[in-house]
């Protein structure tokens, strides 16, 4: 009975808001419509409207997918201190990390769907119904862990919010193990995604065992970077209180992650250049260009510059605690990691191709529009979820039932 009230109330929450809220929602919907049109065009004409070709069979879609898996995994950064150290200020914002993870995974699924040639055949991958190539194909592993992670976060977040809505204390014996389980799950979604590339001996740039650790390290920067900015937006736009200490703590963790990420990058670059094998071409292409193809170089160096600068900002306490420099650092990290995971991972991994051919991939308009549409869909879902979650956690939106604890 109360669940119906919860649903009805939620609908009411998301359909009421000030003009900024509606402007934001309409803006997102507009981008979603543009993305949908672009996608329909892609469905009708085929993936030829993208810039992907046999020489570079994956591009922006899969790059975004990889980046967003990292964002989803990063929810764990907030869970670890909150639950392991039982550190007060972070605990209240964990729920938002989980909601971000949910939206990120929805975006991940979106990017996979638009990337494949026959999304209607995806049921071929299901066990029993189809012929799932498990455990051989890492893509199957990825589907399994992503769905598990999604269900896990979805049920934890829904349960916690519903309990708060009911003004009841949640069952610790149920939630704590689930939340703790989400930590290895977060690690595994990103590890499996890294293994997806890592396992391909045909692509030496990816075939490095350092890939999975690098994925995790960079994810633990990018996810929280988004969240730090979101928290500040929340503090401004809602009455929700997030303590400075919580943000600084997250920023401190990001500094360590970024330091480790840069260390791993140096280790990889050293190995490639010092051993100077044929495999070096990919790193060379990425850093300096190769045979007159330089499009990617600018992005690479921007990403490196952004990561180093952000590391310095986050590691020095005074700049970390200054919200101007902190936000600059967050934006730098966001774009740094976005390039590293998209342009910087997929493109040099596939260029030159396996027969030494260089095809310089730059995303087509269709790819950009469709990607924007999916990002907007993710933001929209996140916005709507926040619109429900914030008043619940603040105790403004609750069931009509007189709760036991209040009696």
């Amino acid at each position: 009975m109360y669940f119906i009230e919860f649903i009805k109330g939620s609908v009411k929450q998301v359909t009421t808001g000030n003009k900024y809220y509606w402007a934001w929602v309409v803006f997102l919907c507009l981008l979603i419509v543009i993305g949908t049109i672009a996608y329909i065009n892609q469905m009708v004409s085929g993936l030829l409207v993208t810039s992907m070709r046999d020489q570079v069979p994956w591009g922006m879609y899969i790059g975004n997918f990889t980046f967003l898996v990292g964002v989803a995994a990063a929810a764990v950064v907030l869970v670890i201190p909150a639950y392991i150290y039982n550190w007060g200020p972070i605990k209240e914002i964990v729920i938002f990390g989980e909601l971000l993870a949910i939206s990120a995974i929805i975006m991940c699924i979106g990017f996979v769907v638009v990337d494949v040639g026959h999304p209607e055949r995806v049921w071929h991958m299901l066990p029993l119904l189809g012929t799932m190539n498990f455990p051989s194909s890492l893509l199957c592993w990825d589907v399994v862990v992503l769905n598990m992670y999604f269900l896990l976060n979805f049920s934890i977040a829904t349960y916690l919010l519903y309990k708060a809505f009911m003004r009841e204390d949640y069952n610790h014996k149920l939630v704590t193990p689930l939340v703790l389980f989400s930590i290895p799950m977060a690690v595994s979604i990103h590890t499996v995604t890294a293994f997806l590339y890592n396992g391909l001996a045909a692509r030496p740039f990816w075939n490095a065992s350092i890939l999975a650790p690098r994925f995790l390290a960079s994810a633990f920067c990018s996810g929280p970077a988004i969240m730090i900015i979101l928290f500040q937006v929340l503090r401004k736009t809602t009455k929700f209180k997030i303590k400075d200490e919580a943000i600084w703590k997250v920023a401190e963790l990001m500094a360590y992650a970024m330091g480790f990420n840069l260390f791993l990058l140096i280790a990889e670059v050293f190995k490639e250049f010092y051993s100077d094998t044929h495999h070096l071409v990919h790193t060379k292409f990425m850093l300096f260009g190769y045979h007159g193809h330089h499009n990617i170089v600018m992005f690479t160096w921007f990403a490196i510059f952004a990561s180093v600068a952000a590391f310095i900002i986050f590691v020095i306490p005074s700049t970390r605690k200054n919200f101007l420099t902190l936000n600059v650092g967050c934006i730098l990290i966001y774009f740094g990691v976005y390039i590293e995971k998209g342009v910087g991972l997929i493109i040099p991994g596939l260029t030159p191709d396996v027969l030494g051919e260089i095809y310089e991939y730059t995303p087509s308009n269709t790819e950009i529009f469709v990607s924007m549409g999916i990002f907007s869909l993710g933001f929209l879902i996140f916005t709507l979820m926040m619109k429900v979650a914030v008043p619940i956690t603040r105790g403004e939106f609750h069931s009509s039932r007189v709760s036991v604890s209040q009696e």
């Binding site: 419509v33 949908t36 049109i37 996608y39 329909i40 065009n41 469905m43 009708v44 004409s45 085929g46 993936l47 030829l48 993208t50 992907m52 070709r53 046999d54 020489q55 069979p57 994956w58 996979v112 990337d115 494949v116 040639g117 026959h118 999304p119 209607e120 055949r121 995806v122 071929h124 991958m125 189809g130 012929t131 799932m132 190539n133 051989s136 194909s137 890492l138 893509l139 199957c140 589907v143 997806l196 396992g199 391909l200 001996a201 045909a202 692509r203 044929h278 071409v281 596939l350 030159p352 191709d353 396996v354 027969l355 030494g356 051919e357």
Partner: protein, 305 residues
């Protein structure tokens, strides 16, 4: 299961396209239209993996496809579904000292296998390299454009599917739409492939090709003698590759590229037959395989005759 309602794929697709053009594009429900409401749709949608089909089901599907292709191309097609030959391991050998880079194999393959002209798909890439460097893929190009070949100081190496015993592509396919058949041919079920292109990323030989748009093979002179796992007309959004001309070789014929090669550089046969050409080459010639260090164990051998 019935064959009565053969869907008119092309005409529908065309009208859908023109509809889209005229009626505006902002209908999110339009992709659903591609799931047509014909009786054949459900059976097609729920068609099983070729490996799991019974002989009866295969017969029905083959019949349906033959009708579809006849409608589309106005010619009678035969779609074979011959299983792997017993006691046969197909293998290929290519004499690099003979190859002159004329690309006759490339176009022989295009004709035999109904490869798309637009967008262009070639299952064979002939690489040109510097003779003095030997095989160096990092200094190779398939785009050479000389008046006459072989060009001075250049060497040529055609690359196509190597039909690996330890194939990375079949390993990574999430739906088992591609597999190594018992006679050593790596095949694809085009109706099962979801088009994720993981296999293209995994293939060390650039052998796999994606249908980025609806493939358009040459209509006149289309090869109507086809195989389900081979040269039958494909659809957009699926991966395809060299099948050792499964429609020919499972009937005892040489692949089209062997027949097309003017210098006799291409050799094909059964590895399990000690008298076959490929067995002779393995025994008497210095052979090498491409990217040996990847342990893909190709059945495509290069040699210097």
């Amino acid at each position: 299961m019935t064959d009565k309602h053969t869907p008119k794929t092309t005409t529908k697709a065309c009208s859908r396209r023109s509809f889209l053009k005229t009626a505006g594009k902002a209908l999110p429900a339009v992709p659903l239209l591609s799931m047509q409401t014909e009786a054949g749709f459900l059976e097609r949608f729920f068609q099983k993996n070729f490996k799991e089909l019974s002989t009866r089901e295969k017969d029905q599907i083959v019949k349906r496809l033959e009708q579809e292709y006849e409608k589309e191309y106005g010619k009678k097609f035969t779609v074979g579904a011959e299983p792997a030959l017993k006691g046969v391991q197909f293998a290929y050998a290519l004499d690099l000292s003979r190859c002159i880079g004329c690309r006759k194999c490339v176009y022989g393959c295009v004709t035999e296998n109904n490869l798309s002209i637009d967008p262009q798909i070639h299952w064979i890439r002939v690489l040109e390299m510097d003779e003095e460097e030997g095989v160096n893929l990092h200094n190779a190009t398939p785009y050479y454009n000389h008046k006459k070949v072989p060009a001075e100081g250049k060497a040529y190496m055609p690359v196509q599917c190597q039909h690996c015993r330890n194939a990375p592509c079949t390993k990574v396919c999430p739906v088992q739409a591609t597999w190594l058949d018992d006679d050593g041919i790596v095949v694809i079920d085009y109706d099962w492939c979801i088009g994720c292109r993981y296999c293209i990323a995994a293939c060390p030989y650039g052998a796999r090709h994606f249908n980025w748009a609806k493939p358009k093979p040459k209509r006149e002179g289309i090869n109507t003698n086809t195989h389900y796992l081979g040269n039958r007309p494909r659809m957009k959004g699926v991966v395809e590759k060299c099948t050792f001309c499964v429609q020919r070789t499972r009937k005892g014929k040489y692949p089209a590229c062997v027949e097309a090669c003017p210098v006799g550089a291409r050799k094909f046969g059964n590895l399990l037959d000690p008298e076959s050409e490929v067995s002779y080459i393995l025994k008497h010639k210095r052979v090498f395989i491409l990217k040996e260090e990847l342990n893909t164990q190709p059945k495509f051998y290069y040699f210097y005759g």
